[in-house]
Amino acid sequence: MKDRIAGIYADGWSRIVATMIRFTGGDWDLAEECAQDAFAQALEKWPGSGAPDQPLAWLTTTARHRAIDRMRRASTEAAKLREVAAMEPEPPPYPSDSAIPDERLELMFTCCHPSLSLDAQVALTLRSLAGLSTAEIARAFLVPERTMGQRLFRAKQKVAHAGIPFRVPPAHLLPERLPAVLHVLYLLFNEGYGDPRKARLCRDAIRLARVLAELMPDEPEAQGMLALMLLHDARRPARTDAAGDLVTLDDQDRARWDRAQIAEGAAICERALRRRRAGPFQLQAAIAACHATAPVADRTDWPQIVGLYTQLARIAPSPVVELNRAVAIGMADGPEAALPLVDAIAATGQLDDYYLLHATRADLLRRAGRMAEATDSYRAALALAPTEAERRYLRNRGAG
């Protein structure tokens, strides 16, 4: 029963919280508290009585009941009393799970409102949408629980006090608001992808990306982001070896990739691109699909990848994209073709602190047979590499 409830929590938490935020007139703390309380009651009652047929309806009705109770008792808050008086008699219980309005999209856009700092957006998203506790979020971001508690507190205060609306932005605001939501979810994914201790962030990010893609079927970038996450995540088992060291794409054991997930990601990406509104996430997903669907590293379609990076550099120019494009050119046309591009990027000074710039350069020099220069670049990369696994990889590769 505990597992059953945990499963319902994973999928249902955000549904219930969103409904409760609406119901309490924007009292996020009360909404979360009542949702939490409903799950506590489920843990207490269900093992004896069995789970109800419509668990989400049961939980939401229970949470709502609790909220009414709490608001009635909060007699000092006259405004809320008026609200409570207005909604009497108590609304009937939700008849079924599907009768509960789905306001997760409203919740996503509110959590990721650009008037909140990025840190606040991320924390709110993890708490309200992914259902992580304050302690879990604090652990994921390696900050003291107290700090995270204050961050969440301030964020919820600002949502309430500044008048951030609980809604999906109207069509004319979507082009500037959707990227903020995508950015937060992808940041969560990356945070989890780079560090095995934070793997759960990847799962949470994919779960939320699925919700977003399902609720916004006409937004190709939402589909593209889900595809990108699935394609990256499918390679996770092969990404590190037994010692925890990073294994590069061409050395990965492709038998350990999750083929079903790759097929799903590639199909979602293809469907999105057919809408002819290519965006950065779709293009990155298409690149990831090229890698993931190559039977062996040697048969990767590098010219296709070069084309996709060229398109990406046009719509979302950045030095990192240029660097990746140079890597692809190095694979398609040889290291001598790529080195001038990498040197040009290095000359701008923008990526001086980015270890992959130096690692890429080292790799190209090694392949070009310029060993002494390669060693220098490996050393520069080693000094900047952020994790021990990456440092070990570079040492093996020739940093000495």
Binding site: H113, S115, H161, A162, G163, P165, P169, L173
Partner: protein, 113 residues
């Protein structure tokens, strides 16, 4: 909701960044017409400001603004908006958002009436 819109100059502004900025008279007319702008005015520079403090019943005056910052505030407006999204759109239409900066401060609910 009511918002105080603090209209400020931006010391980092570079000429030309406000190409195509709207006209302030148009802004005032539009927002007054919609009932969004409740009141507002330009304020004289910091050099004309007087800061008032009462300490131990004694009135202390300082020539100039209270903060040792540059003279940023150039005016203010009081807005009545449905929510922050509307306030942001209103602020973004103000020419000073194009060359200066605008801070939106929500009112405490008690002071609304």
């Amino acid at each position: 909701m009511k918002y105080l819109m603090l209209v400020c100059t931006d010391p980092d502004y570079k000429p030309g960044q406000d190409d195509g900025a709207p006209d302030v008279e148009d802004w005032v007319r539009e927002m007054d017409g919609k009932g969004i702008r409740l009141l507002g005015n330009r304020t004289r520079p910091a050099s004309d400001a007087t800061t008032v403090r009462v300490r131990n019943r004694e009135v202390l005056l300082t020539d100039g603004p209270y903060a040792e910052t540059k003279d940023l505030m150039a005016g203010f407006d009081v807005l009545e908006c449905a929510d922050l999204d509307e306030a942001i759109q209103v602020a973004a239409k103000h020419p000073m958002a194009w060359s200066g900066m605008i801070e939106l401060r929500p009112f405490w609910p008690d002071s609304e009436d």
